[in-house]
Symmetry: C4
Subunit: 233 residues, 4 copies
């Protein structure tokens, strides 16, 4: 929890989620316009997303924690590090900021501001991918905070860079970003009707990560005794 | 503000802006010669630009602050961290260094040294892109200096890597670099007649970032009181 | 050696190796589906692998050491920093985790869960490549632990990013990952019958690296005397 | 200057230069086999080279300084930080190590071990590119050592990643690597007859960088007085 007043924390969450969505949607549009090779377009969508995440988390993290993601705020609420009221504010700010990010990308690329995506992303395999993606993201954040808090920005940026490719859904892993991406009928879009499946999967992945982290990262009570049992005689 | 004499600071600004422009223009020429895929060419333009920014800011930052950008010098002048006279010197050094960088790239690639770009980059969407690009750059610098001064080189390199793709203008975000790029009729060029629109947009983005930073990053007076109100009862 | 109980260390090794394999196999499938250019597919396989390695080593290293690789566990056993019993547990956990990682990738991409690879990877040149790849990996880890323990995650991620390209085998360098990759008939696969040659080569490379490191990294007894002899008169 | 005995320092230089050349030549072969797009091949040559440089400098730097480059050893000799005798040993070790690196790459990719390149790299523009490339490399090293010694590995890796693209010669910037690359008739080769021009240009670039660094990085005697003159009244 930071010491900044809530008003500025909410602006930080809206600004960060907004720029993140602008990066995701905007780089998708740019890439898709410049090449017919879909792998290259995805690469040109991946690298800016990973890069901007590192930047946004470093510069806004000290203000609001740089969640930019409702399931991350949910996890911190379950850990009692955020009040329910603040979490609600965070989630609203993230969602509104994300939508503004889509509008900004559309404006910069001279596209209709309001769109609805027609890209189908649904079915069990996609949902499994979102569970996996969000599980890994939230676990990386929680373990990173435990062991190397100064490196969390890099962990998130690198994790998303990887997960774009190894999850079949290209790793949305974020309900606010998913909602914002449902409003663009471009490379990074998702049909509005497919949102509920994604969001449920993302919440599930986050809760699984929290449960694993609670056990795996638990403080060790008698470290010396334990390490002695391991010593080579 | 550094303790190096102004003469060396000006050489540092000229050298840094020059090598930055050589990287932008040179990698654009190289990429465009080697492929017909424009997205791949832009990627091969993006990565060297981001990489050289990290290097130049680390090695020249301690000498001159590594602005390499008139709007960054403007912002530090408005913050009263640079005198108007020094700022003027910085901007002249950046502009001359940038132009020399274009000439060096042309010489290395056996192109006519003096050229004028014919690449049209104009209109409201492009200007909005430049406002956005420069806003994000300047905000990242100011927030980075506030929270993680040792990481500013990475912030700038990663931010530009992302902004190349998510802004429709490929993120010039720098009047000195824009002027230098108006003198090359290659991949990275911009028509001289389009310069004023870009420069005005860049100044606007920078000033907006400064205004937001002044409020968002302001010191918190009673941090303990604030964090108590957030505590879970 | 960490102070975490063995049960959690084994889960950490299984989880880390599993996600590593999911990243390798999953990004290979995604890349191969999206492009016909094999170099681009390999690049889209390389970057996620390197990125996830940095993440996994940072977040799981404090728990289990983040070996994720039987030959790394072997080397630490030979250095007497891991008991033979723990090493056995590690290797079993890595292998089972790796196989689970392949299954997860198949499930996410709607492929048959159980497959056997038909990709031939055999012969002296391939084995030399695996000796080289594993030698470099293990040497980087041992020297990194000696000089910059905080950077080992980056060393491994960057080393594998490079070795994917400069070794003719694309640098498996890991028997548990090789076994897991023998169970997928996709981009990243290897025929089960080719496993023994790879595994022997990987063990050989690891032992060579350990021998070199024992000599090259050995503590210097009288550093001052030695550096005096080097001083310019 | 390190405290390691000269024998180990020479092995470190040979090993590091060897693996660097294996990375350059091997990734060039791999890339050229997998794609017909030359820009993509160069990208797949660039990223492994940059990545392995970071690794090699971190793990071998504490032993030998991680020059891997005769002109770097020359510069440290001119700065009287290395004796002429040690420098001679370094340069021999770098050259022999580099040649061994080419042979290893050929062996891994099942190519004739001994080859002579037929790739023409000559003329004033190429030499200017090599002067520029080596100037930037050596200046980055010297300024990095002065201001952020812990980051030199990243500076070199990122600088070379950029210079591959912005110099018309793809930035050899290293006589030992150039000699080793003259012995491979693959993507990364250079005709033996073109070596002298490259080597002279590289020495010139290095000496220019040393001269600039001697002035630009010189200690500031009365920093307080200077910074007072800059203060806003």
């Amino acid at each position: 929890m930071t010491s900044f007043p809530l008003s500025r924390r909410l602006v930080s969450e809206a600004l960060g989620t907004g720029l993140l969505v602008t990066a995701v949607v905007g780089s998708g549009i740019m890439a898709h316009r410049l090449t017919t090779d879909i792998a290259l377009a995805l690469l040109a969508n991946t690298l800016p997303t990973g890069a901007i995440l590192v930047v946004l988390i470093i510069v806004l993290g000290p203000i609001s924690g740089a969640h930019f993601n409702p399931v991350v705020s949910l996890v911190f609420t379950l850990r009692r590090e955020l009040t329910a009221m603040s979490a609600l504010g965070y989630i609203v700010a993230q969602t509104l900021g994300g939508i503004a990010g889509t509008l900004l990308a559309h404006a910069m690329f001279e596209l209709p501001l309001l769109q609805a995506s027609t890209t189908i992303r649904s079915g069990g395999a996609q949902w499994l991918a979102e569970v996996t993606a969000t599980f890994g993201l939230v676990f990386a954040i929680l373990a990173g905070l435990r062991f190397r808090a100064d490196a969390v920005s890099w962990l998130v940026g690198l994790y998303i860079t990887a997960a774009y490719w190894f999850t079949a859904s290209t790793s949305f892993a974020n309900p606010a970003v998913a909602i914002a991406r449902s409003l663009t009928n471009t490379f990074a879009g998702i049909r509005p009707v497919d949102l509920p499946g994604f969001i449920v999967a993302e919440i599930l992945g986050a809760v699984l990560a929290l449960m694993l982290a609670n056990w795996l990262l638990m403080e060790v009570r008698n470290p010396q005794t334990l390490s002695e049992t391991e010593a080579i005689p």
